[in-house]
């Protein structure tokens, strides 16, 4: 278990808090899984994306879903959020089959979810404060004074209380991601989804976002699913990793198991090897044939 309050929150007995959170997390994990994929098949048009995915995600964990570009990682998040429906199989969240829910039930479920989009997706016509307050104003009848306090607490949690009056255009990429994180936890969701949270960030911002994901998951008792390519940062903060390749779960395990894995795909991915089970060359006819110089190989 990592130190819980890496970013300098001033609590006296950090060890004690860590132990409490660990016990809380173990209790959560012991309950029924929060998310279950059962034989999920999905295709965009005629292009199959997922082919019989089975996956179970326990509560209180930080899960990373990894795989090459276009392997269907974001599709998994969209299936969980009910944006798209599986062709075959089902996705259950907190015991509810998502694609069977009516519009109102789906929206009710989404209120318990948060999603951090790749580039934050902040509302550009609203200030940082109003972005974080957005869900509170939409879904609750809280008085404005209480909303103000809650927004400041959320912004404080991501270290941007001082940026409350800024507009999204005035924020750096890392700051925008942190504001979006504060916005997505505004209603204390049970499930957080992160779509490429580390893309385009400098090392400091990347580390800050990674630490925040871990810390907020532990302190708020959430479950977090992270779609990412950043192997090093992910293995530092997650509890479990799923690798997606060719539409199926190619491998899965704890960070230590992943590091030690001899599975060719995992090995290539973790060590960033150019060629391997994921070929360098996109499928094509023979190179020599393309060049018109007779029969040959494509590599």
């Amino acid at each position: 278990m990592r130190p819980v309050l890496e970013l300098g929150c001033n609590l006296g007995d950090v060890t004690h808090v860590t132990e409490i959170l660990e016990v809380k997390r173990q209790k959560l994990m012991a309950t029924s899984p929060l998310i279950e994929f059962r034989n999920v098949n999905f295709a965009y048009g005629t292009r199959p994306i997922l082919k019989g995915v089975d996956m179970s995600i326990s509560r209180g964990q930080v899960i990373a879903i990894m795989g090459g570009s276009g392997s269907g990682k974001t599709t998994l998040l969209r299936l969980i959020g009910g944006e798209i429906r599986p062709l075959v199989g089902s996705v259950s969240v907190a015991g509810q089959v998502v694609h069977e829910l009516g519009r109102n039930e789906l929206f009710k479920l989404r209120r318990k979810m948060g999603m951090l989009f790749q580039f934050g997706a902040l509302f550009t016509d609203l200030s940082v404060f109003d972005n974080v307050a957005f869900q509170m104003r939409e879904h609750t009848n809280l008085p404005e004074s209480m909303i103000r306090d809650l927004v400041l607490m959320k912004l404080h949690a991501v270290g941007l209380r001082g940026a409350q009056h800024l507009m999204p255009a005035q924020l750096s990429g890392g700051m925008a991601r942190r504001v979006a994180l504060a916005r997505s936890i505004a209603l204390d969701p049970m499930l957080m989804m992160f779509d490429e949270p580390f893309t385009g960030l400098d090392p400091i911002s990347l580390s800050v976002i990674g630490s925040l994901i871990r810390r907020l998951t532990d302190t708020l008792g959430m479950t977090s699913i992270m779609v990412t390519h950043d192997i090093q940062e992910s293995l530092r903060i997650v509890d479990y990793v799923y690798f997606l390749a060719d539409g199926v779960i190619a491998a899965h395990g704890t960070p230590d198991e992943v590091r030690a894995s001899k599975v060719p795909f995992v090995h290539q991915f973790v060590h960033g090897e150019i060629d391997g089970p994921v070929p360098f060359h996109y499928q094509a006819q023979a190179y020599s044939q393309d060049l018109g110089i007779g029969v040959g190989s494509n590599a």
Binding site: F107, K108, R110, A121, F123, Q135, E138
Partner: protein, 236 residues
Amino acid sequence: MLLVLLKSVPGFLRFRLITREIYYAGVMSLIIILVSGLFVGMVLGLQGYETLQKFGSESAVGTLVALSLVRELGPVIAALLFASRAGSAMTAEIGLMKATEQLAAMGMMAVDPIARIVAPRFWGGVFSMPLLAAMFSVMGVFGGYLVTVIFIGVDEGSFWSQMQSSVDFRYDIVNGVIKSCFFGVVVTAIAVFEGFDAPPTAEGVSGATTRTVVTSALAILGLDFVLTAFMFRGVS
């Protein structure tokens, strides 16, 4: 369109959202509407005087300016300007919100983007259009007055009295307002649809914005003919 109407109830419950859109679509379009109205009225006055004086009827120039404006030019030109200025802005804004995943984020926050983003813009445009058309016509009449009475020297009394006696409230002014309401619905419906339907790319948003202006212009002119045929047939 039906979806927008069905999901308009939350917007009306929070009228603040609609007044904000009236500001952006209506108030922010005022400058171009007023200046254009003034010049159109001045040109009408000048051309009208040049033609009418050949028949010794230059005192009827007030009638010509007013009827041209309240029946046709006011609603039509104001709607064309509105489509270019506010309609294109609506499409670009909604299209960009889609391209930057703001609409998807809203949906994931269990907030319906049609109710929260599209419906207020639609109603903001619908409410703004008749007011802008009316202001265009008023400025046009003022422009005609400026050129014919102040600069050329047409008798002020006959300018206003002829206008007053020949402009009918029911047939001319009300029909003009009805036209502008139709144009408001058509232009904003096209604008919000194109924005919401735009492919989430730079090229997609650019194409949608162009389509808004072109489709709106054609729809306005076509619809104007149909409405005119229904409203003014048999009226002398």
